[in-house]
Symmetry: C2
Subunit: 347 residues, 2 copies
Amino acid sequence: MLRVLLTASLAAMSSAAFAADDTALREEALGIFEPLPKTAPELPGNKITPEKIELGKMLFFDPRLSASGVFSCYSCHNLATGGDDNLETSIGHGWQKGPRNSPTVFNSVFNIAQFWDGRAEDLKEQAKGPIQASVEMANTPDQVIATLNSMPGYVDGFGKAFPDDSDKVSFDNLAKAIEAFETTLNTPAPFDAFLEGDDDALTSDQKLGLALFMDKGCAACHSGVNVGGNGYYPFGLIEKPGAEILPEGDKGRFEVTQTVDDSYVFRASPLRNVALTAPYFHTGKVWNLKTAVQIMADSQLGEELTDTEADQIVAFLESLTGTPPAVTVPVLPSETGTTPRPDGNIR
Amino acid sequence: MLRVLLTASLAAMSSAAFAADDTALREEALGIFEPLPKTAPELPGNKITPEKIELGKMLFFDPRLSASGVFSCYSCHNLATGGDDNLETSIGHGWQKGPRNSPTVFNSVFNIAQFWDGRAEDLKEQAKGPIQASVEMANTPDQVIATLNSMPGYVDGFGKAFPDDSDKVSFDNLAKAIEAFETTLNTPAPFDAFLEGDDDALTSDQKLGLALFMDKGCAACHSGVNVGGNGYYPFGLIEKPGAEILPEGDKGRFEVTQTVDDSYVFRASPLRNVALTAPYFHTGKVWNLKTAVQIMADSQLGEELTDTEADQIVAFLESLTGTPPAVTVPVLPSETGTTPRPDGNIR
């Protein structure tokens, strides 16, 4: 209630009163969200080193991890376009379409688990999925390891990244290196600056949107460092959206846990950079962020937002658009006589 | 003849004599090749500015220039893998295969013309081709311009790059910006250091290979800044290679000039970074560089190289592997409500 009063009066107040409001808004926000840490977290079982990050970057950019030689991690997690591919669902091997919208790789280390249904515990487990998925990179671990072992530059890179391992060039180590690189892909945003004390980091519309985001209940699911990505919730809690947005055939987390309660349950989307990552939802059927916000309010909260409220929430979401780290395109080793040849055939 | 004598005696000589040999080798080489210029050349009708380069980099990396949203210039001219895609022929829209092997974008501004048959006079003409080719990016100029105009970040970028134009966001200007960026993609190599006076820049095998490359006649077609890329020659001058390598259906430059003399004529491949750009020839049917060298000697010169000679020429060609400029992945503008949606359908 305090929040609603503050919100309603924000626009008319003096700058001194604004500052007091900002402090209250920040305090409430800090109870729900966390600013992006300045350094990547430590990962259990995967000590991050510069050598591992460098190797991981090479692997992330290398289309030779796919059977066809066409797709790399970067293809669907494009660092130039918000860390995703801007498609409803990704196009992969043989022009096949993937089943769900590609999530952004940015800040993904801060998610509770990976994929829309959280079926991968962490980024190293996640990295193994698309490489093998028949509609994505369509490769096999054996073929990937043969490819890497055929290039001295990679054998050297794995040697430096995993000096203590007896089996250095392994699929597990590939996944660990990619995870190490991905922990660097974090994007501090104006919202972080606001949380850290800079009143001017958000516009007044963004502040009003933040207040609404908390008051209306959006923050019940979209909280924490990634403003989401930290829990599982049924899609259509109050009212199921249409079948195009939530098709019957995709039961979400049910397929992971085989628990009826997990039917149509998905990981709440992490909302950092959401303004860059249209189209929305696991089906990628909604292109407009305001529409997505309205669908969420309707289906999850039973709230019909006014046009102004929806605009203000979108303004807040735009404050989550961050600055990606400068990533220089790596120079990859060249193939040798023993490198498996690309094969674009569909099996 | 002098060269042959020098070559034969190189391995056994003292370092002082080596230096004298190096000087003679360099002098002969400088009559045929040119070191890579330190700055990109001026382009007629396209003044290079930092704003144009920056815009061109954005366009080069943007998959939204393709109808499907999957392919960018970078897809087939991958800066991480020698400026090409390491495929026989590129895979494009709808998983269709292109007709010829993708050439490297590196140092391409120094080629006499673009494409295997030289059908594009320069890089700005070239850039328009793949965007519209139905088996590549399958887009139309109108759709591309609508896409760019829908994103304020691009409208702003074109405004800065083409401040004096009345029609700033145009297909011509897109091509000019991409050309401007591509003029920066040059890769100085050990061979350049040798040409510029550093005797130690090449190994003795590479020097022997360079001498052979000139003496055997390879340099008759592969000369100039790009060690090729500067003239048109019939493939199979002395003896036609097999139909897999030189299929009857692709008559090369004949299709451009409609002149019988141009049947099976192609632009001599520019050989900078050739060790990174397998597979070889316009058909991409040969994966091994030594094999490619032997085929060339046989079909173009009627020379059967010894195993050692072929190895030494390969060693020389490896000295053409250069250092690409550091290219940071750009941050591209996000779509808006008016951005045309990706469409992967085959028409």
